[in-house]
């Protein structure tokens, strides 16, 4: 430990110097350097030291020795000077020794170094009477430390048995020889129901022990037990018991909470202890291990009943000191989902024995059985903890709910009276609860039986209703297909008119002929024979040109006739037609000629011929 301490000290310093070096190197300004040096010094010496003196006993027999321990502790104990002892004229100083220890702990992430140096002086009084050891002094870091004065009473004769550790018992060891015992020490023997009682089991020994084994642990019937301490390694201390000095170690300590009342008994604890038997003679060098069985004495504890008078109704069974809080895990419940009401009782005492608090009934709220959780901790010799009750709460109607204050009572054994604690009221809203069907039990419709629905009433007239398909509806389908067919044909015609010139001329030929004929008829009405014949001639030729997609201007009449006969016009018809054309030609040039027929008849004939063409 000491080595580690020194090492850490070294490391600490190196780190410190390192930083200082860095700063110095970076800032060669002498002012900063000197400032830093001052800071460094102050950090070295600013730490307070604890300087005290004590003696191992204050009553000493004349001629006996006792020790004076001057102890210095503080953060920096590296180079502590020896303290100046006061004038010890009435004492002989037999010896002086020093012990040093360093303790490093990290508190809040900061390394704290605590060193202790003990200067131990062995003193012996020279005279009988009340003697005083004056204050010891020490100068360190510019300060002078002083201890208090100690008074020593020196009596005649021997006050103390010789130190045990140097003289183990010589008689052969046995379980009942008083050199090895286990003691059960209760913290009290009178308690209230539910009040904590600590029982510690100590092993007292004057032998050197190699192994300890539990044979039987007490059953602690009538108690709820929490283990406080059960050290894995026995930690011995010296203690005087019945005038003898023992090594004493704690084996086990428990906290007991009586759950019944009356005189309760803590059963003895049995142990198997292996001891190293002291050597019988000079040659029995190593000694022999020996097993001894020891047991503690039973303890009786008087448990009194909790006072009946003023016992509150909402007493929860808690004995100790408790607090209560309540919370909801959510502020609003949607769609009938449960919300949790969490009630926490925490404090010291028999926390496990606390029963669930009573929650008043709230209209339209369904409060289910709680889920309980305990969290028990032992700190030192007290049992602390929290008990959590988690009540699922289901709202059965929309609205705002208020959970009133919840009270519980407990018994405070120190004050010897009952205390009542309470939570704060809580609020929450519920919505969408209609999603869950709530069956109302009262005022509902009672179903007595079922029957078919009644017949339809009388009629003044009854229409004959068909249950088959009207055949005439098929016409609609026919019409539908016709519409589509016609539109397809029409669309094809339209597109051909755009693309096919000959087709377009042929289609329009009739219309154009009619137009021209109208003109011809007008000339006839006016009796303008010349124009009549020439326009008639134009109309006929125009029609032929349109109908057969021919350019009339470039063809002679003979060529035209051949062309038409090639396209399937009848010979006779063509002859007649061309006769008319010729006549018209003649007539248009010489209208006074009488060789022609009447214009009206010619017109009639032309129409007939064109229709037949």
């Amino acid at each position: 430990m000491k080595r580690i301490g020194n090492f850490l000290k070294k490391v600490n310093r190196q780190w410190f110097y390192g930083i200082a070096d860095g700063i110095v190197k970076r800032h060669r300004n002498p002012v900063i350097m000197s400032l830093f040096f001052l800071l460094f010094l102050s950090s070295l010496f600013s730490a307070e030291l604890n300087f005290s003196a004590s003696v191992d006993r204050t009553i000493v027999g004349l001629g006996e020795t006792f020790t004076l321990n001057v102890s210095v502790s503080g953060e920096n104990t590296g180079n502590i000077p020896s303290p100046k002892l006061p004038d010890l004229l009435d004492f002989n100083i037999y010896g002086r020794s020093t012990s040093q220890s360093t303790n490093i702990s990290i508190i809040n992430g900061k390394m704290v170094q605590q060193g202790t140096v003990n200067f131990i002086y062995t003193l012996s009084p020279k005279i009988i009477g009340k003697l005083t050891i004056g204050p010891c002094k020490m100068d360190y870091g510019g300060k002078t430390y002083e201890t208090q004065t100690i008074e020593i009473e020196v009596v005649k004769g021997v006050t103390q048995a010789p130190p045990a550790q140097t003289q183990p018992p010589v008689a052969p060891p046995s379980a009942g020889d008083g050199n090895l015992l286990v003691l059960a020490v209760p913290s009290r023997t009178e308690a209230f129901w539910g009040e904590q009682i600590n029982v510690s089991f100590y092993l007292y020994t004057r032998y050197s022990i190699t192994n300890v084994e539990f044979v039987k642990l007490p059953s602690f019937s009538g108690f709820w037990v929490e283990t406080l301490n059960e050290p894995r390694q026995l930690n011995y201390q010296t203690k005087v018991y019945n005038g003898k000095q023992y090594y004493v170690a704690l084996i086990k300590s428990v906290a007991l909470f009586p759950v019944t009342s009356g005189v309760l008994k803590v059963e003895p604890m049995e142990l198997n202890v292996d001891i190293e038997r002291p050597p019988r003679d000079f040659f029995d060098f190593f000694g022999i291990n020996q097993r001894l069985k020891i047991e503690s004495k039973p303890i009786t504890i008087n448990v009194s009943v909790l006072p009946v008078e003023n016992k509150p109704e909402d007493f929860s069974g808690g004995v100790g000191k408790f607090g209560i809080t309540a919370a909801l895990d959510r502020d609003s419940a949607v769609g009938g989902a449960p919300i949790n009401l969490i009630i926490r009782v925490s404090g010291t005492g028999n926390i496990r024995l606390i029963e669930k608090p009573k929650i008043p009934t709230i209209p339209n709220l369904k409060i289910l059985e709680p889920e309980t959780k305990e969290d028990i901790q032992t700190t030192g010799n007290t049992i602390k903890g929290t008990k959590e009750f988690r009540f699922p709460v289901i709202a059965q109607a929309d609205g705002e709910y208020y959970i009133p204050e919840i009270k519980i009572a407990y018994f405070d054994p120190l004050k010897k009276k009952y205390e009542t604690i309470q939570t704060t009221g809580l609020k929450f809203t519920a919505s969408g609860t209609s999603a869950i069907a709530v069956v109302t039990e009262q005022g509902g419709i009672k179903v007595l039986g079922t029957d078919i629905r009644h017949i339809k009433s009388d009629a003044r007239s009854l229409s004959v209703q068909k249950n088959d398909t009207p055949k005439w509806a098929l016409i609609l389908y026919v019409i539908s297909f016709l519409i589509i067919g016609i539109s397809l044909i029409y669309q094809r015609h339209q597109s051909r008119l755009l693309v096919d010139h000959a087709y377009a001329r042929r289609i329009r030929s009739g219309r154009f002929f009619q137009k021209r004929m109208k003109q011809v008829e007008e000339f006839l009405k006016k009796d303008d024979k010349k124009n009549f014949y020439s326009s008639l001639n134009k109309a006929i030729l125009g029609y032929i040109g349109d109908r057969y997609n021919l350019s009339i201007g470039v063809l002679t009449k003979e060529q035209l006739k051949d062309e038409l006969s090639n396209r399937g016009a009848s010979k006779e018809l063509l002859d007649q037609l061309f006769q008319v054309i010729e006549d018209c030609d003649h007539a248009s040039y010489a209208p006074q000629l009488v060789g022609c027929a009447e214009p009206g008849e010619v017109l009639k004939k032309v129409k007939e011929l064109i229709t037949n063409l």
């Binding site: 079922t450 029957d451 078919i452 629905r453 009644h454 017949i455 339809k456 009433s457 009388d458 009629a459 003044r460 007239s461 009854l462 229409s463 004959v464 209703q465 068909k466 249950n467 088959d468 398909t469 009207p470 509806a473 098929l474 609609l476 389908y477 019409i479 539908s480 297909f481 519409i483 589509i484 016609i486 539109s487 397809l488 029409y490 669309q491 339209q494």
Partner: protein
């Protein structure tokens, strides 16, 4: 028999017959009511007559015949809740409890395609087909692209009515029959000499798969097939 009816029934037009049937029904003379309703139906079909006839049969505890009448009424008026209610009531009332697991999607589909009657769906299908045709021809001639959405809608509607019609048409087919006797023995073959395999009760709805020697090969809702005397079964639509 015929003479008896003539004496009993004075009315001659369907409305009077129907009203007379109702008065017989109300005075709990269900047999006479049935005669009146059946006479009225011979003069013209009407869902109310079918419905009341079904009720009269039900009151006489003839579940099978009641179911047939309700089904006939439902074919004409599928949206009449009285008919559907009584049909379901009669079905639940029969002795053979045949549990058919109904899944909600199937039920919804069935309701969707039974909303319009067979006549309505047939007519609407034709009308929507005509509208579709007009839209198609407009598209062909004028090439109006915006019409296409309307066209899709009308075609889908047409399809809906077509399916409805087909559903009804298949249900109307003469393979559906109902047991009309209180207890019917079913055999493994067409004849009493075959092994008796089932006892079917009044109101069981079956499909008629085959006919031989006066026996029907019937298929029960579970899929079981058995031969039953054809006189014990009445076809729903005939």
């Amino acid at each position: 028999m015929n003479l008896f009816f003539i004496i009993l029934i004075s009315a001659q037009n369907p409305v009077e017959l129907y009203n007379q049937g109702n008065s017989y029904y109300n005075s709990k003379d269900y047999q006479s009511a049935i005669t009146c309703y059946e006479q009225a139906l011979e003069l013209g079909l009407n869902k109310d007559i079918y419905y009341n006839l079904g009720n009269a049969y039900f009151k006489l505890n003839k579940i099978g015949r009641a179911i047939i009448q309700y089904q006939r009424a439902r074919l004409i008026a599928p949206r009449d809740n009285d008919i559907i209610d009584n049909l379901n009531f009669a079905r639940n009332y029969r002795a053979d409890k045949i549990t058919i697991l109904e899944n909600p999607i199937g039920r919804l589909l069935s309701q969707t395609f039974h909303y319009f009657s067979i006549t309505e769906s047939y007519l609407w299908a034709a009308i929507f087909f005509l509208v579709s045709a007009i839209l198609i021809s407009l598209d062909i001639i004028y090439q109006i692209r915006n019409l296409r959405f309307g066209l899709i809608f009308t075609l889908l509607t047409f399809l809906y009515f077509l399916i409805t019609f087909m559903v009804w048409n298949s249900e109307k087919s003469d393979i559906y029959g109902v047991i009309t006797q209180s207890e019917v023995r079913a055999y493994s073959g067409p004849g009493e000499e075959y092994k008796e395999i089932l006892i079917i009760h009044d109101g069981a709805e079956v499909k008629i798969r085959d006919e031989r020697n006066g026996y029907y090969l019937t298929q029960l809702p579970g899929g079981i097939g058995a031969w039953v005397k054809s006189t014990t079964i009445k076809k729903v639509f005939q």
